[in-house]
C-alpha cells in the first residue's frame, strides 16, 4: 500500500491557485508593457520637440565663420586697411593623436625647431581636447599645399586659409586708423555680459586704436556659420552647405584723408617728431592727420614681442602717441592771430603804434622780444610776430576777451571726429584761475602778456590749431573737422554744416590779411616778416599765407636762453606753422608742429609747404589752371591707315590728355 504523495483535492487546489495567479501575472505583464507604452507616448509624442532640439544640437555644430573685416579707404578709394589671405597650420589634441610625433612630422614641412616644438606641445596639451592650437601663420603656398595633401594621414592637423588685417602703408596712417590685435580679457569684459561669440574665435582680431577701435562693430560685420554634422566624438562627419549662414562683410569706412598728402607728410617729417593736420577750409574735411614718428601697425596684428614693444614705448619721441590729438603744446606766436582778433573785436584801434626795442619794462620786470622791430602797428606786428607789441595789445584787451575769441575758433575743445584720444588742452581766463587755484584765485596782470604771445597756461593740440586756421581762412563758417566721410556708403554730415563765426567780416579780413603779410602772399613785403618767402609753393600764382610760432617748452630763467635747434633735443623750442593756400581763394588749411624743432619759420614752415604742395597738385581745379594742356594735332580719321585699325566696327577715339573730365 502506497500512500499517494498528493491528494486529489490538493492537486485541484494548487491548479486553481496557479490559474488565478497566472492570470494575475499576465495582468502584471500587460500593466508593465502598458507602462512602457505610456512612457514612450510621453517621450515620443508629448516631449518630442524638446528631444528633437537636443538631438539636433547633438548632431549639428555651427562653426563660426568670421566675416571679412570692412576696408578702410581714403577719400579717393585708396585702401588704407585691407585683408590678405593667411595660410595657417593648426594642431588639435584628440583621440589617436600623438602631438609630439605630429609636430615632428610637421617639422619636415615647415620650420619648427626643437624649442618651438616643445613650446607648442605644452600649449596643445594645455588646450581643451579638439581645440586647435595655431602652429604656423603665413605659410607659403608651397608649404600649405604640401601639408594639405598630407592632411588625411595626419589626424588632428588642419591647414586652412584665414584672413588677416594688413595695412599696406605701414606707419603713415597708424595713428588715425589704429590697428587690430588679439582679443584680451579687458575687451571681453568691455563687451558687456553677452559678448559677441565671434570674440572668442581664435582668428578674430579686435580694433584697439583709432578708427579700427571706434568703428569696430561696423567693421566687424556679422559672423556667419558653417553647419557641420558631427559624431559623438565631435569629429566632423559632413558639411551641410544648405544650412550655412553666410557672413555679412564689415562695412567700408571711407575717410576724408587723402593718402598722398599724408604719405608726403610722413616723408617730410622723417625721423622728426611732431604732427601735421590739414583740413579743407571750405568743407572741414580732414585731408591729413599725421603724427610722427609713427610705427608699423602690421606688427601689432601678429603681436609684438616684448623687446619690440619696449623699443616703441621707451623711445623719447613717443611713436605710439598721437601728437595730433593727444598731445598739447603752448601755441606760441600762432596765438597772436587770436589776440589780434580779440583786440579788433573789442574796439582796439589797429593803427595803434608800439615801438619795439627788443626789451620792454613793465610791471617791475623786463619783457623780451627776439629782436628790435621798431615801431609796429597791429598789421605789421602780426607779420613780424613782435612780442612787445602783443604784450601791450593783450594788456589792452584782457584775458577773458582773448579766451572768448580763442574758444570761438575751436581752441581748448574736442571735436567729434569719430576717433578717441583727444585732449582739450586749455585756454585760460580769470574764471579758470578762480576755479583751479583756490589759494591764489586772482588773474595777475603779469600773466596777460604771456598769454598774448601764446605762452603761460595756454596748451593746445595740433587739430585745434588746424581748425583755428581753417576758420581764419574761411572767414565765415565755424568749420568743424570731419574725418569719417562715409560708413558703409552712408555719407556723414559735413564739417561746414555749422553756424557762422560771431565776428565782423572786416575784422576777420584784417587777420587774414595779416597772415598774408607773414609770408608775403598778399604782395606786401614787410621788413622782418617771419615767414617771408614761405608763400611760394612753386605753383605760380597760388601762394600760401600763414603764421609762425616758436613755443618755449620750458622756462628760460629770466628770458635768456638759446632759441632754435640748438642744445639738448628735449629742451628745444616747439616749432609751429599754421597756414592756408591759395591765399586768394583758400582751399586748404594746415597746422604743422615740429616737437622741439626750433623756430617755426625754419623747422615747421618748409614742411608745411611741401605737404601743402601735394594737396594743391591733387586738386584738379588748381592743376587745371597751372598746366596748360598742349592739344595733340588733330588727325582726320579719313587719313589714317585703315589697315592698322582692328577689325572692330568702331575704334575708340584717341583720348586727349590733359582735358578735365
Amino acid at each position: 500500500m502506497t500512500q499517494p504523495a498528493i491528494f486529489f483535492e490538493e492537486v485541484n487546489e494548487r491548479q486553481g491557485v496557479f490559474h488565478r495567479r497566472a492570470i494575475l501575472l499576465g495582468a502584471f505583464a500587460g500593466l508593465g508593457l502598458g507602462a512602457l507604452g505610456g512612457r514612450l507616448g510621453y517621450l515620443q509624442l508629448v516631449e518630442t520637440q524638446r528631444y528633437e532640439k537636443l538631438s539636433a544640437s547633438n548632431q549639428f555644430n555651427f562653426k563660426l565663420l568670421p566675416a571679412p573685416r570692412g576696408l578702410i579707404v581714403d577719400r579717393n578709394g585708396a585702401v588704407l586697411a585691407a585683408n590678405r589671405p593667411n595660410f595657417r597650420l593648426m594642431v588639435a589634441r584628440d583621440k589617436g593623436v600623438d602631438p609630439e610625433a605630429t609636430l615632428k612630422t610637421l617639422a619636415e614641412y615647415v620650420p619648427l625647431d626643437d624649442a618651438r616644438q616643445r613650446r607648442y606641445l605644452r600649449e596643445i596639451n594645455a588646450a581643451p581636447k579638439r581645440a586647435p592650437v595655431q602652429i604656423m601663420e603665413d605659410m607659403t603656398w608651397e608649404q600649405f599645399s604640401a601639408l594639405n595633401v598630407r592632411a588625411p594621414e595626419l589626424p588632428g592637423v588642419t591647414a586652412d586659409m584665414g584672413e588677416v588685417r594688413v595695412y599696406p602703408h605701414g606707419g603713415a596712417f597708424a595713428h588715425v586708423i589704429g590697428y587690430v590685435a588679439k582679443v584680451n580679457k579687458e575687451d571681453v569684459d568691455a563687451a558687456g555680459p553677452n559678448p559677441d561669440p565671434i570674440m572668442l574665435h581664435p582668428s578674430f582680431r579686435i580694433g584697439k586704436q583709432g578708427v579700427e577701435k571706434a568703428f569696430d562693430v561696423a567693421l566687424r560685420g556679422k559672423a556667419g556659420a558653417q553647419k557641420v554634422e558631427v559624431d559623438a566624438n565631435g569629429r566632423e562627419v559632413r558639411q551641410d552647405p544648405n544650412g550655412d549662414i553666410p557672413a555679412v562683410p564689415g562695412k567700408v569706412i571711407e575717410l576724408t584723408i587723402d593718402a598722398d598728402v599724408q604719405l608726403r607728410a610722413e616723408e617730410v617729417f622723417g625721423a622728426e617728431s611732431g604732427a601735421a593736420v590739414m583740413m579743407d577750409c571750405r568743407t572741414g574735411d580732414v585731408l591729413c592727420m599725421y603724427s610722427g614718428p609713427s610705427f608699423d601697425a602690421n606688427k601689432f596684428v601678429r603681436g609684438l614681442t616684448g623687446a619690440e614693444y619696449r623699443e616703441l614705448a621707451l623711445y623719447e619721441r613717443k611713436p605710439l602717441f598721437n601728437k595730433a590729438l593727444t598731445a598739447t603744446y603752448p601755441p606760441g606766436s600762432t596765438f597772436k592771430t587770436m589776440v589780434a582778433l580779440a583786440a579788433l573785436d573789442s574796439g582796439y584801434d589797429p593803427n595803434t603804434v608800439h615801438s619795439c626795442g627788443k626789451t620792454w619794462a613793465w610791471g617791475g620786470r623786463v619783457w623780451h622780444c627776439d629782436q628790435a622791430h621798431g615801431p609796429q602797428t597791429l598789421h605789421t606786428a602780426i607779420a613780424t610776430s613782435c612780442d612787445i607789441y602783443f604784450y601791450q595789445c593783450a594788456l589792452a584787451v584782457g584775458p577773458d576777451r582773448i579766451a572768448k575769441v580763442a574758444r570761438a575758433f575751436g581752441l581748448g575743445q574736442t571735436f567729434d571726429i569719430g576717433i578717441p584720444g583727444q585732449k582739450p588742452g586749455l585756454v585760460p581766463d580769470t574764471a579758470y584761475k578762480r576755479r583751479v587755484f583756490p589759494k591764489d584765485p586772482v588773474w595777475h596782470p603779469g600773466e596777460t602778456p604771456s598769454m598774448g604771445i601764446g605762452q603761460g597756461y595756454t596748451h593746445l593740440n595740433p587739430l585745434q590749431l588746424c581748425v583755428q586756421v581753417a576758420r581764419l581762412a574761411n572767414r565765415r563758417k565755424a568749420l568743424h573737422p570731419r574725418l569719417i566721410k562715409s560708413i558703409g556708403g552712408v555719407e556723414q554730415p559735413a564739417g561746414s554744416s555749422f553756424g557762422d563765426l560771431p565776428f565782423k567780416p572786416e575784422h576777420l579780413e584784417f587777420v587774414y590779411n595779416g597772415m598774408g603779410a607773414v609770408t608775403g602772399a598778399n604782395g606786401e613785403h614787410i621788413a622782418r616778416a617771419t615767414g617771408f618767402g614761405q608763400a611760394d609753393l612753386g605753383l605760380g600764382s597760388f601762394l600760401m599765407a600763414g603764421k609762425t610760432g616758436t613755443a618755449q617748452s620750458r622756462g628760460y630763467g629770466g628770458g635768456t636762453g638759446a632759441h632754435g635747434a640748438v642744445g639738448e633735443w628735449s629742451l628745444r623750442d616747439h616749432a609751429w606753422f599754421i597756414c592756408f593756400a591759395p591765399f586768394d581763394n583758400p582751399r586748404y588749411a594746415m597746422s604743422v608742429l615740429v616737437e622741439h624743432g626750433g623756430f617755426g619759420a625754419s623747422a615747421a614752415a618748409p614742411k608745411a609747404r611741401e605737404i601743402m604742395r601735394v594737396a594743391m597738385l591733387k586738386d584738379p581745379e588748381i592743376t587745371a589752371q597751372i598746366t596748360k594742356p598742349a592739344p595733340l594735332p588733330e588727325v582726320p580719321p579719313a587719313e589714317r591707315n585703315q589697315d592698322d585699325l582692328p577689325d572692330g566696327p568702331e575704334a575708340d577715339p584717341i583720348p586727349t590728355p590733359g582735358q578735365p573730365t
Binding site: 497566472a22 514612450l40 517621450l43 515620443q44 548632431q59 554634422e229 559623438a232
Partner: protein, 384 residues
C-alpha cells in the same frame, strides 16, 4: 488530423504530431522580433551585414532549430534533468567563484578551451526547472505556508548570492525575481508576500548604503539625477532618452537615426538597441514591437495555463517570467525609468548569451505545450 485522432494512445508521441503541436504562431512572432533586431543591426552598422546583422540572424536560425529539437524532447526528460541542470549550474557558479575569468572587475566567465561563457545563464534555466520540479511534488498547503518553504527559498538564495558576489547584480536580481514569481505562482500565502514586500523595502536602504559596490550605487544615483552628470554615467540615460524622444510619432526614417548613426547612443547594438529602433521608427515602431513582446508573453503564459502537469505549468510560467523581466527591465532602462544595469532586450539585442538562454527556455515552453497532456508522475515532493 482530427481531434479524435489525437486521443489515440501513442498518437501524440509521433514526431510529426509533435511538430504540428508546436505553437507556430509563437515561432512567427519570435522570428519577427529577431528580424526587427537584424534590421536595426543592419542600419546601425551603416547598412552593412557585418559586424552584427548577419551573425544575429544566423544565430537566431540555429537557435530556432535547437528550440524545435528541445520542443519535441519529452517534457519528462526535462523533468528528469531538472535537478541535474540546477546542480550543474551551482557547480559552475562555485567554479567561477574559485577559478573564474575576471573582466572589467567582474568574475563572471568560465573558460572552456578557446571559449568562455557565463554559468549564471545556465542558472536562469536551472532555477526554473528545479523549482518547478520541486513544487511538482508539493501540496497546496506546503506551497502556501510551511517550514518546507525554506527549501525553495534556499534553492533561490544560494545561486543568487553566488551571482551577486561576482558581482552581477542584474542577473542575480533576474534569478531572484524569476524564482520568486514561481514561488508566488505555486501558491505562496499572500501574508508571506506582504511581509516579504515590506521586508524588502526595509532592507533596501541599508543594502544600498553598505552592500552595493560604488559603481552600482553610482548607477542608481545617476539614474535618479541624470542631469547631474550629463557627460559621465548620466550620459547613457540622457542620450537614450534623446534618441527616443526625437523619434517622435513616425521616427526619423530607416538608417537616419542621428543619435545611433553618429555614436551618441552608447551600446547601441546591445543594451540600447530599442532606443535605435525608437529613433528610426518612432512611437509606431516601438508600440508594434511592444505588442509583439506582449504576444510572446501571452502565448507562453497560455501554454503554462493549459498544461496538465504542475511541472509544466510552473516551468513554462517561469521562463515567461524571465523573458518578461528582461523586456521590462531593458525597456525601463532605455526609457530612463530604471538604472543602467546591463540587461539586453531579448531577441532584439545583438549578443549570443541571452538569445541562447531565451531560446532554450522557449524550447522548454514548447515542450510543455507539445506534451501538455503527458502525465508527469514520478514526483515525490522531495529530492530524488
Amino acid at each position: 488530423m482530427t481531434v479524435s485522432a489525437l486521443t489515440r494512445p501513442g498518437e501524440r508521441d509521433r514526431l510529426i504530431v509533435k511538430l504540428s503541436e508546436i505553437d507556430w504562431l509563437f515561432v512567427a512572432v519570435l522570428t519577427l522580433i529577431a528580424g526587427a533586431g537584424g534590421l536595426m543591426l543592419f542600419s546601425i552598422a551603416g547598412s552593412s551585414w557585418t559586424p552584427w546583422a548577419a551573425p544575429h540572424l544566423i544565430r537566431y536560425a540555429l537557435l530556432l532549430a535547437i528550440m524545435i529539437v528541445l520542443a519535441v524532447l519529452d517534457v519528462r526528460v526535462w523533468f528528469a534533468l531538472a535537478y541535474p541542470i540546477y546542480g550543474l549550474g551551482l557547480l559552475l557558479l562555485v567554479a567561477v567563484a574559485v577559478h573564474g575569468q575576471t573582466r572589467l572587475g567582474a568574475t563572471r566567465w568560465l573558460g572552456v578551451g578557446p571559449f568562455s561563457f557565463q554559468p549564471s545563464e545556465v542558472m536562469k534555466i536551472g532555477i526554473v526547472l528545479a523549482l518547478a520540479r520541486l513544487y511538482h511534488g508539493a501540496g497546496a498547503q506546503r506551497a502556501r505556508l510551511s517550514w518546507w518553504l525554506l527549501i525553495p527559498a534556499g534553492m533561490i538564495a544560494v545561486p543568487v548570492l553566488l551571482v551577486a558576489k561576482q558581482p552581477d547584480l542584474g542577473t542575480a536580481m533576474l534569478i531572484a525575481l524569476t524564482g520568486t514569481v514561481i514561488v508566488v505562482l505555486a501558491g505562496l500565502s499572500w501574508r508571506v508576500i506582504a511581509v516579504g514586500v515590506l521586508g524588502a523595502l526595509a532592507v533596501a536602504p541599508p543594502f544600498f548604503m553598505f552592500v552595493m559596490h560604488d559603481y552600482q550605487r553610482e548607477r542608481i544615483l545617476t539614474f535618479l539625477h541624470p542631469e547631474n552628470d550629463p557627460s559621465g554615467t548620466g550620459y547613457h540615460i540622457l542620450q537614450s532618452m534623446i534618441a527616443l524622444g526625437s523619434g517622435g510619432l513616425l521616427g526619423k526614417g530607416y538608417g537616419l537615426g542621428s543619435q545611433s548613426q553618429l555614436n551618441f547612443l552608447p551600446e547601441k547594438q546591445t543594451d540600447f538597441i530599442f532606443a535605435t529602433l525608437a529613433e528610426e521608427f518612432g512611437f509606431v515602431g516601438c508600440v508594434s514591437i511592444l505588442i509583439l513582446y506582449g504576444a510572446v508573453i501571452f502565448m507562453a503564459l497560455r501554454t503554462a495555463y493549459l498544461s496538465h502537469s504542475h511541472f509544466g505549468r510552473l516551468a513554462a510560467a517561469g521562463v515567461t517570467a524571465t523573458f518578461a523581466l528582461y523586456v521590462m527591465i531593458n525597456g525601463a532602462m532605455v526609457m530612463g525609468l530604471a538604472p543602467v544595469v546591463g540587461v539586453p532586450m531579448p531577441m532584439l539585442s545583438y549578443g549570443g548569451t541571452v538569445m541562447v538562454t531565451v531560446m532554450v527556455g522557449f524550447g522548454l515552453v514548447q515542450s510543455v505545450r507539445v506534451h501538455r497532456y503527458a502525465e508527469v508522475t514520478s514526483g515525490k515532493g522531495t529530492f530524488v
